[in-house]
């Protein structure tokens, strides 16, 4: 088994403090970078590492950095996405709590690479204690001269600001996040322009996930190639997998990219509770299409999961055993996306609520057999037709649960058919 990079700090007492971090070799990477490397070389190294964006989309981090216009006179910004709101995801919380200065060092290197002198950490509002820790540790870094002006005696200046969200999953979507950072509602923006060209405050901006940034110091310390080889093809390095649901040992596990889902569930997370069988597993946060028990030999990386029609997403693995009511699971997931839709786009705003109400009705024993195809149709009508991918995030579970577990849904509607009364008389739209 490969060593650990981030998670080795998880078990160290005071791993969040500057002293402990430095004692374990922290802040060496940035020193070297500032003295020996040009910004472009940093980006190249990250490109070589095959570090993917670990917030969900998996876009190669180095490629993204290279989109920052070199000749723009505008200030550049780095925004670290710590909104972590995709159900089943909790890895960034660990990083912020226990690898605090590792994250800062990554922020410093990334900012240097893209030419930013100001970085923001956008952290979900519920993470009150995490935000407090960040603020406190930022202060320590300033006190040491690691942040602020003339860092390590070089010409590099960097200010780091913690910005708290206020309860909106959509603000994890990078353009909604930028709107929120600017003091507005989290309404995702139309693209283009992409943030790298016009992001925060109309300036070139890189948005990266906490975990993406947290791997940067090690990459620059050990080399891109070294990091790349830890993982699978085109999916460099290690990765934090969060496992929750019906397993014996839920938690965060740092493993090579491409570790099999079976290994993660059965070896690391301790397998299912005794006597239970695996029914379904969501591999990458609740929006990732669900897998059946016989699909778990898949390698957990972006490309392998995409190949079987699912996605690595945030690598939040949600395990469901054979006691799970799949109809209810889909209802709970759909309720989430309905609750979190920002409400801009017609299909997402109306479709998520509609689907939730149908699922609720089925759960209440008033299902009709047409409901299943109607739900599939609603999902299809949302899919791909909205501004941001939240619409897809809502549609993908609908499609996959209803297709892969159709029998469960059919049983639910026939079991319950005719038992209760339909909420409302059907409304004819044509009169």
């Amino acid at each position: 088994m490969a060593g650990k990079i981030i998670s080795k700090f998880f078990d160290i007492d005071g791993g969040n403090t500057i002293d402990v971090y430095e004692r374990h070799g922290g802040y060496q990477s940035i020193r070297r970078v500032l003295k020996k490397m040009a910004p472009g070389q940093v980006t190249d190294e990250v490109l070589k590492s095959n570090l993917r964006g670990l917030g969900g989309a998996g876009f190669p981090a180095g490629r993204k950095w290279s989109f920052i216009p070199k000749d723009s006179p505008k200030p550049k910004f780095l925004v670290v996405n710590a909104d972590e709101s995709e159900p089943g995801t909790f890895k960034d919380r660990y990083i912020m709590d226990r690898y605090t200065h590792g994250l800062f060092e990554g922020i410093m290197i990334a900012s240097y690479a893209i030419g930013a002198n100001k970085a923001f950490i956008y952290i979900r509002g519920e993470y009150v204690r995490q935000a407090e820790n960040l603020v406190e540790q930022i202060k320590c870094a300033y006190d040491r001269g690691y942040l602020g002006k003339r860092i390590f005696g070089t010409n590099f200046n960097l200010d780091l600001v913690v910005h708290r969200g206020a309860g909106a999953y959509i603000c994890g979507e990078e353009t909604a996040l930028l709107e929120s950072l600017e003091g507005k509602k989290g309404w995702p923006r139309m693209k283009p322009p992409f943030p790298a060209i016009e992001g925060a405050f109309k300036c070139p901006t890189i948005v990266n996930n906490v975990e993406t940034i947290a791997y940067v110091p090690t990459i620059l310390q050990e080399g891109g190639e070294w990091f790349s080889e830890l993982g699978s093809e085109r999916n460099g390095g290690l990765k934090l997998y969060g496992v929750s649901g019906h397993v014996k040992k839920p938690g965060v596990y740092e493993l090579p990219m491409g570790t099999s889902l079976r290994e993660i569930i059965y070896e690391h997370a301790g397998g299912l509770q005794d006597g239970r069988k695996l029914k379904a597993v969501v591999p990458g946060g609740s929006s990732a299409p669900v897998l059946t028990a016989d699909e778990i030999d898949v390698k957990m990386d972006y490309d392998s999961l995409a190949k079987i029609g699912s996605m690595l997403g945030s690598a939040g693995v949600i395990v469901m055993d054979d006691t799970t009511d799949i109809v209810r699971a889909l209802y709970v997931v759909t309720r989430f996306y309905h609750h979190e839709s920002c409400g801009q786009c017609t299909p997402c705003r109306e479709g998520t609520g509609w689907a939730e109400r149908i699922l609720k009705r089925i759960l209440d024993g008033n299902g009709r057999s047409v409901d299943i195809d109607n739900l599939l149709n609603i999902a299809g009508n949302i899919m791909g037709n909205t501004i941001c991918p939240l619409g897809d995030a809502a549609a993908l579970p609908l499609k996959s649960y209803l297709t892969k577990f159709r029998a469960d849904f059919e049983a639910a509607v026939s079991d319950r058919n005719g038992v209760g009364k339909v909420a409302d008389e059907p409304v004819s739209l044509l009169n």
């Binding site: 149908i358 501004i387 409304v427």
Partner: protein, 549 residues
């Protein structure tokens, strides 16, 4: 320029043109709710999705720029399905109360729905409840349940009126359009939100339940409310007669003119047409010496001319003052000039009356000069400042001192520009006072003869706006009672005086005008309709320092 192909039609368009605009130029209308050419683009309603070759997903036509070689399809099965899906989504929480909705007949939900009809409803679920029939301002009613959250009205208030009254609160399908609690949608342009709301969420308080839109006809015109001359359509109900079943003119709507008002008009202009069907309309020529008595046009013309000739023969031509009005058309003023100045040889002719209270103005559409044709009157030289006669103020002073013996006053309520006693003293000192206009006022009350002039919706002619753009008004409804266009009244009088006014139509007047008046020379009558013609090639003039009423 870039070349794109839309539904097989190849067109060339400037770089930066969006697909929706390009399609329009190719004669293809892509449905839209949130897109409005005068507002920022948000791409939220998703009704305008189109297929673009080599793009994996459908794209919104309103936001996507058309690029060289792009091939767009607006009618494929996939597009139609997506459109139908958006329609269906929009109706998920829609109350479907068309039978009691004022928007019925001009609702974009209904319109597109007809084109993309669904065959059976799958709507078994309860709908999200929101507030209905809320009066959110002096002119606007809001029905939140009908709102499709296109945000057009919000963007209007943020970007055009810059008054920020409206917001969308909450999120998801709980999102609701509202004004700020305790405040109103009350700005000088609020009525435009009603025009741009694609559904029946924002409706006109004034128009609510008054008539069904399919009974309305439309006539192109110009708002007479100020010197901007916003292009409008007059919506009129030809089945309704004056004082029988309500007003003939139902509403005014702005008409697009990129050089004048774009898509907008102000509320003062929009709601300022009520005088057209008011009780104060003058219906017949009337003698008001002693007992008030209606007369025929023949009688009136002959009596007035007789008296006028008397005054002139006893006291001379300099004893008569003529007060024209910048509410009159170029044609009216030209005939007035021909009759009073050239025919009768009168000297004291003016039209400008500075109002006691300066009119409101802003840096958008509203001008302090509340007249549509001040520039025209100036160019026609019918003001004291253009000639050598007395100004209106001088005329009143001279009248008081009986240096003037007769006043011929058009449209003006002189009390708007002068103290009541000044007007009264002046007018009561006259041997002859004639008032001509569409409505009675405090000035007409002092006249010996009152002549009914057609209102702006009852005649054809042209106004010259502050920037010297000549624009046309058209007859929307027939003149009330005996009233007729001002120039026709002058023609009747001229006939009595054997002065030649050889015009039968407004067009004849216009032709003579262009032949005779330098500033208008060469203007083609046929070119005036629609967007009008700028005399100085669209060069806006600074607003004149004198403000006229």
């Amino acid at each position: 320029m870039v070349k794109v192909t839309i539904d097989g039609i190849e067109i060339e368009i400037p770089k930066g043109t969006t697909v929706i605009q390009a399609a329009e130029q190719a004669g293809i209308e892509i449905p839209r709710y949130c897109y409005h050419p005068g507002l920022s683009i948000v791409g939220v309603c998703r009704i305008c999705l189109v297929e673009i070759e080599r793009m994996p997903k459908l794209q919104v036509a309103c936001y996507t720029p058309a690029t060289e070689g792009m091939v767009v399809h607006t009618n494929t099965e996939q597009v139609l399905e997506a459109r139908q899906a958006v329609m269906e989504f929009l109706l998920v929480n829609h109350p479907l109360d068309c039978p009691v909705c004022d928007q019925a007949g001009e609702c974009w939900l209904q319109n597109f729905y007809m084109q993309h009809a669904l065959h059976d409803s799958r709507m078994f679920e309860n709908k999200v409840k929101k507030s209905k029939a809320l009066q959110i301002g002096p002119n606007v009613m809001l029905d939140s349940e009908r709102c499709i959250l296109c945000s057009r009205c919000v963007r209007f208030c943020d970007e055009i009126s810059k008054s920020n009254e409206l917001g969308i609160f909450n999120r998801g399908d709980r999102a609701e359009l509202q004004p700020y609690p305790g405040t109103e949608l009350d700005n000088d342009y609020s009525g435009n939100t009603i025009d741009i709301c694609p559904v029946g969420a924002l409706t006109d308080r004034d128009f609510r339940f008054r008539t069904r839109v399919w009974y309305l006809s439309e006539t192109e015109s110009i708002c007479p409310g100020c010197s901007t001359g916003c292009n409008i359509n007059v919506h009129h109900n030809d089945q309704r007669t004056y004082k029988a079943g309500g007003s003939r003119v139902s509403r005014l709507k702005p008409r697009y003119n990129p050089d004048v008002n774009e898509w907008w008009m102000c509320d003062a202009g929009r709601y300022g047409f009520t005088h057209v069907d008011a009780d104060s309309r003058i219906l017949a020529p009337t003698r008001s010496i002693g007992e008030e008595q209606e007369m025929s046009w023949g009688e009136a013309a002959s009596e007035i001319m007789t008296k006028l000739r008397e005054v002139i023969s006893v006291h001379g031509k300099e004893s008569v003052g003529v007060i024209l009005s910048p509410q009159m058309t170029n044609e009216d003023l030209f005939v007035a000039r021909r009759f009073f100045r050239d025919g009768l040889g009168l000297k004291h002719i003016d039209f400008e009356v500075a109002p006691l209270t300066t009119g409101a103005k802003d840096d958008f559409l509203i001008k302090a000069d509340k007249n549509p044709n001040t520039a025209g009157a100036r160019l026609l030289g019918v003001g004291a400042r253009q000639g050598s006669g007395m100004t209106v103020a001088e005329m009143l002073e001279a009248a008081r001192k009986r240096k003037l013996r007769a006043l011929y006053i058009c449209h003006h309520d002189l009390a708007n520009g002068f103290a009541v006693d000044v007007v009264e003293e002046a007018l009561t000192a006259q041997d002859l006072v004639v008032f001509q206009g569409p409505n009675t006022n405090s000035t007409s009350a002092l006249a010996h003869y009152v002549l009914p002039a057609a209102a702006f919706v009852e005649k054809t002619g042209s106004f010259t706006n502050y920037a010297e753009r000549v624009q046309m008004i058209h007859t929307a409804v027939t003149p009330l009672g005996e009233s007729k266009a001002d120039w026709q009244i002058f023609r009747s009088l001229a006939k009595e005086a054997a002065i030649s006014v050889p015009y039968f139509e407004a067009e004849d007047v216009f032709q003579a005008l262009t032949a005779e008046v330098e500033a208008f020379s060469g203007l083609p009558y046929a070119g005036l309709a629609g967007q009008g013609i700028a005399l100085r090639d669209g060069q806006a003039l600074p607003e004149s320092e004198t403000v006229v009423a």
